[in-house]
């Protein structure tokens, strides 16, 4: 079975900045960023969005990022912050797991639109449309030759990435694994998710950005991901509430959490999530960061984990559950706690 892993450094790029402490304060104050609008050029309703300034300086002096889409800049900026917080990175002993739900949607749209217009698309755009392009840029920036994997899907791509990282650490050959999740927003996505009912002005607002966590072995850092659930699928024959109950119940087995960092905000799924947590972890205070930072799917999942870690290190909680419910019925979750074995030789 997978051993617990410790968190050595974190970084994020969100609609309310990159300082996790500030994000926490904004959540406490219920202070939301200014809602922007993004228009569909073919007409129709404009969609609300929490836009994130693109950190172009993240790639300064790194030629591979010259032509890349925003998602790669978000990913690299978050990864740089996580590595900086950890203080060091041994490129020969570090793997990378990247997660995304929608990937480089801007370049994908541009390439397809150009193809429809002129019969063929730009060779400069197409390579950046593949899901693992951002991962490749981040790996190249840090000079990693160990595995660099990309997990995709709904928001649980973030927890899948954490599971994969723990597996790579377990198997040996590496001492660190950099987990990065990123998303970029586009009017096409806004339109699609609005029509699907996943985002709206009254509920979660689409956003973008990235989050990164540098993981090490169980004893390496003061904070650890104690339990990672392997997840479940909900569908017509396995309703969401029952599937989520199974996952949350497993995650609570080793001790009751005193805080829950929720994955939902304002949607039907969020109401189910709140209700299941109220039922199975009644003592846990519930916090829904997406009201403040918006919905950025896989990136939001890692941000949930980062916020959970912040809550522990700031003394707000001692054991935090992070449930994740994705839009395709995938469910995952982790539990974070203070690492009582930090510094103990394995």
């Amino acid at each position: 079975m997978l051993s617990p892993v410790s968190i050595l450094g974190v970084g994020c790029v969100t609609a309310v900045g990159s300082d996790v402490g500030e994000i926490w304060q904004r959540m406490e104050a219920g202070e939301r960023p200014k809602v922007g609008e993004i228009a569909n050029p073919f007409g129709g309703e404009a969609a609300p969005i929490y836009r994130v300034p693109v950190p172009h300086d993240a790639g300064s002096g790194f030629p591979r990022l010259r032509r890349s889409s925003n998602i790669s800049y978000f990913a690299l900026a978050a990864a740089q912050a996580a590595v900086a917080q950890a203080g060091e990175l041994d490129a020969d002993r570090t793997a990378l797991v990247f997660a995304a739900s929608d990937g480089a949607v801007v370049y994908t749209r541009l390439f397809y639109a150009e193809m429809l217009r002129s019969g063929t698309g730009s060779p400069l755009l197409f390579p950046e449309t593949v899901y693992n392009a951002a991962s490749s840029h981040v790996a190249a920036y840090f000079g990693l030759d160990q595995p660099a994997l990309t997990m995709i899907g709904d928001a649980t791509a973030g927890t899948d990435a954490l599971l994969t990282a723990a597996a790579l650490l377990h198997d040996g050959g590496i001492d660190r694994c950099l987990v990065v999740a990123a998303e970029e927003a586009d009017w096409l996505l806004c339109d699609a998710y609005r029509r699907w009912g996943l985002v709206s002005r009254g509920a979660a607002i689409l956003s973008e950005g990235a989050a990164a966590i540098l993981l090490g072995r169980a004893h390496a850092g003061p904070l650890r991901i104690e339990h990672q659930h392997r997840g479940a699928s909900a569908h017509g024959k396995n309703p969401l509430r029952a599937a989520l109950r199974g996952v949350v119940s497993d995650l609570c087995k080793e001790g009751p959490p005193d805080l829950a960092i929720l994955s939902g905000a304002g949607t039907r799924i969020a109401r189910i999530e709140q209700s299941v947590l109220r039922d199975l972890a009644p003592q846990a205070l519930q916090v829904a960061p997406k009201h403040v930072v918006g919905e950025a799917f896989a990136a939001s999942t890692l941000l949930q984990v980062i916020i959970a870690g912040r809550a522990i290190t700031a003394g707000h909680a001692s054991r935090v559950i992070v449930p994740v419910v994705g839009w395709s019925g995938q469910i995952g979750g982790v539990v974070l706690a203070k690492n009582e074995t930090h510094g103990v030789q394995a």
């Binding site: 079975m1 073919f42 007409g43 129709g44 591979r64 994908t108 390439f111 397809y112 193809m115 429809l116 019969g119 063929t120 698309g121 730009s122 060779p123 197409f126 390579p127 950046e128 593949v130 899901y131 693992n132 392009a133 490749s136 790996a139 190249a140 000079g143 990693l144 030759d145 160990q146 595995p147 660099a148 994997l149 990309t150 997990m151 995709i152 899907g153 709904d154 649980t156 899948d160 599971l163 597996a167 377990h170 096409l188 699609a192 998710y193 029509r195 699907w196 392997r230 997840g231 479940a232 699928s233 569908h235 017509g236 024959k237 396995n238 839009w327 395709s328 019925g329 995938q330 995952g332």
Partner: protein, 392 residues
């Protein structure tokens, strides 16, 4: 002791056939599954051919499950491969999916619907939901009532091999006793245009390792594997094992391999080391037929395993992208069971310096094979497959 991943079920569909028996026959015969593209217009492109899964194969999906008549090609392929692989009683605890283009077909429909202002709410929801990359697998899982979590790896053309390696690792660590692996990709216009724009696709035959190779031809396929812990698997069902897996990242370029083959060599070395093997009996090469890929791979194989027979099956199927690692692992298992090496068709003269299994299958009893998959982003993966000999 580390648990070994046993393969207890295989399902496959590709231009070579639907189901293992038909695929095996075509693979051994060196069948050329490439034909003119009929799914979308190609007049603006350099390339005009691809490895299609014939419509009559996909009709079998609707016969097996009438509701699948409205599913995408990808979902129909996944359904047929899953129904073949999964025998009664196999319920996975985890599902690992490999794909690169996922539900791109729906993404294209959604965009065109917006552009032309012709999209009902129902269509919009269906197309948006269908864009979920692993939706074809979820559709079949719902039919079967499975509740296992689905993890989707999208590491460009190495995805299928990565998925098998990740699944074997899950078994080895004892995280689960039954894992399903699904690799799939269906032809779609945007991806076709993409490879065409890079001038990586050819309008000629795909000739891996040939001196005059001019590029790749795209294809489509799905392959499904049931993996179980060997210690608890019913041995009558075991068709092979996965003793090793290697992965290496090279940072040379987003689309071009490092000419010396550093990444491929490292992934093969890591695979061999993970199993404690020194060599294999055969290598199913990534062998796309592009000048750069084949040269880089040949350099890596030549440096590490210079005398091992090698072939690329992409001349027969086309490059099936996220499915390639999965379908080619299935080819290896079929070839080991049939005691032959699959041919590298369309070869006239090789510049690789390798022992290429040229044009016709070679009869040879083998027990240990390696399959390589290399992708954009510097993703290099190698998987080891071993024939399972039943103890009497």
């Amino acid at each position: 002791m580390k648990e070994v991943a046993a393969i207890t079920g295989i399902g496959c569909i590709s231009p070579l056939g639907v189901g293992c028996p038909q695929t095996d026959k075509a693979l051994r015969a060196g069948y050329d599954g490439i034909s003119p593209v009929s799914l979308f217009p190609t007049s603006a492109f350099q390339a005009t051919t691809a490895g299609h899964v014939p419509y009559e194969f996909l009709d079998l999906a609707a016969q097996a499950l009438p509701a699948s008549r409205d599913w995408t090609r990808a979902a129909q392929m996944v359904l047929l491969a899953m129904l073949e692989a999964v025998e009664e009683g196999f319920v996975p605890e985890i599902v690992i999916v490999a794909t690169t283009s996922g539900g791109m077909d729906f993404g294209q429909k959604f965009y065109r619907g917006l552009q032309h202002g012709q999209m009902s709410t129902k269509q919009a929801r269906r197309w948006t939901r269908g864009y979920v990359p692993h939706q074809p697998v979820l559709d079949v899982m719902e039919v079967l009532g499975w509740t296992a979590p689905v993890r989707t790896v999208s590491n460009a053309c190495a995805s299928g091999t990565n998925a098998l390696g990740l699944a074997a690792g899950i078994i080895a660590r004892g995280e689960a006793k039954r894992v399903l692996v699904v690799g799939f990709d269906a032809l779609c216009e945007m991806v076709f245009a993409g490879f065409d724009s890079l001038r990586a696709a050819t309008r000629e035959k795909c000739r891996p390792f040939d001196c005059d190779r001019t590029g790749l031809v795209l294809g489509e396929a799905a392959a499904v594997f049931c993996l179980e812990a060997l210690s608890s698997a019913r041995h009558t069902r075991v068709v092979g094992t996965i003793p090793g897996y290697g992965f290496a990242n090279d940072n040379h370029h987003l689309t071009q391999p490092e000419p010396g083959g550093t990444g491929p060599r490292l992934s093969m070395q890591r695979a061999l080391a993970s199993a404690g093997w020194m060599t294999v009996d055969y290598i199913n090469a990534h062998g796309t037929g592009t000048a750069f890929n084949d040269a880089s791979e040949a350099a890596a194989i030549g440096a590490l395993l210079p005398h091992v027979p090698v072939s690329s099956t992409k001349g027969m199927t086309g490059h099936t992208l996220g499915a390639a690692g999965a379908i080619e692992a299935a080819f290896c298992l079929l070839a080991m069971r049939g005691a032959y090496l699959p041919p590298n068709i369309n070869l006239r003269e090789s510049d690789s310096g390798l022992d290429i299994v040229a044009n016709t299958a070679r009869s040879l009893a083998t027990h240990r094979m390696m399959s390589n998959s290399f992708g954009f982003g510097g993703a290099n993966a190698s998987i080891l497959l071993e024939n399972f000999v039943r103890q009497c």
